[in-house]
Assembly symmetry: C2
Homo-oligomer: 210 residues x 2
């Protein structure tokens, strides 16, 4: 699999040997992320493990998050999906931010490819302590931090807590709908789920939590 | 481990051989639940697999839920915990039902034994399709049905959906706090979590979901 370029499209190799070099970098990345977590792994150590210059890793992948996404074969870059959802000009004036976030998450997960990768990551995090640490750190950096940035206006001190409450509801939705497949929530329409859950996300974003 | 009696205390064997018979019943129960799910397994088939009369299984365990709890070594009977939480006379007039349900779930999960068994069940459900079906059916019968009964006054048609939304938030809380251990939610006090999440559960119980 080739990594997405900065323009979002898959890049094609620009010289022979690119594909082997990329594979070596991704193999090294998987080893480093597993061994040291998302926070502890460094581009420098990943480059060294692949026998290439760190500048080449930056050139190919641009950021640690993009490198992680490529190594884990995530079909999307989470922080970019969130940034798009938060800035989406198609969101009408009557659509609250919480409702729009739930709709964006469901739009992703209703795709079988995205859901498969996501459930695979979650499954490995449930069964391996190393994978738990890695996924938890990645979710914090790639999802909680951008969501917390939105809630900062309400109350800077509670922003990380608010973001983690949103994660608890959105990940709980994914677990009950796609993994456990609990009857009423697995069978509900996307629209019914958005209407039911969106306002609860709005409360976590800006409501009174005391 | 001996199963809890109807009075909630562990029973002691009343004749020699009880313990071997109980073990045979629990072994047979684990096989039947795994093979046929929670709904599909019958007391009759479990008794037959253990070479005993169905009346003896009823005598020892009283109900399929209690037999399941004993076979899975759950330290509590979920529907009884929920019934107690819903009827708890210590709940003051200012404590909403949603808040009280979150407090009851957290009180259980803060116990290492309960949390360990619960995460073990969830882990097996993430990694085995048979275990997924079994746990989903059990959650439906033992948790969603009693919760839905409470919300029936609001809107009978939406009661199962409301109960499953509550499950999505409460299970998502367990996953992010105890399994992924996401920083802000893993480090929050129980009181802060109750205050933050309780009102969202109240909305799922009785609020407008359209």
């Amino acid at each position: 699999m080739s990594a997405p370029g900065r323009d979002g499209r898959a890049r094609t190799g620009r010289r022979s040997g690119d594909s082997g070099t990329r594979d070596a970098i991704l193999d090294s990345a998987r080893r480093e992320f597993a061994a040291h977590g998302y926070d502890g792994a460094t581009i420098r150590a990943i480059a060294s493990g692949a026998g290439v210059d760190p500048a080449l890793v930056h050139h190919f992948y641009g950021s640690k998050e993009r490198l992680f996404a490529a190594a884990m074969r995530l079909p999307v870059i989470p922080s970019e999906v969130i940034a798009t959802a938060l800035a989406d000009p198609s969101r009408g004036p009557d659509v609250t931010l919480g409702t729009h976030l739930v709709a964006s998450a469901l739009a992703l997960w209703e795709s079988e490819e995205v859901r498969g990768r996501f459930l695979g990551l979650l499954r490995s995090a449930m069964t391996s302590e190393q994978a738990t640490v890695m996924l938890s750190e990645f979710i914090t950096e790639a999802i909680l931090v951008p969501v917390a940035a939105v809630t900062r206006d309400t109350d800077p001190a509670s922003a990380p807590f608010r973001a983690s409450l949103i994660a608890s509801q959105v990940l709980g939705l994914a677990m009950t709908r796609y993994m456990l497949r609990l009857g009423p929530i697995a069978g509900a329409s996307v629209d019914d789920l958005i209407a039911a859950i969106g306002p609860n996300i709005d409360r976590y974003l800006t409501g009174d939590l005391d």
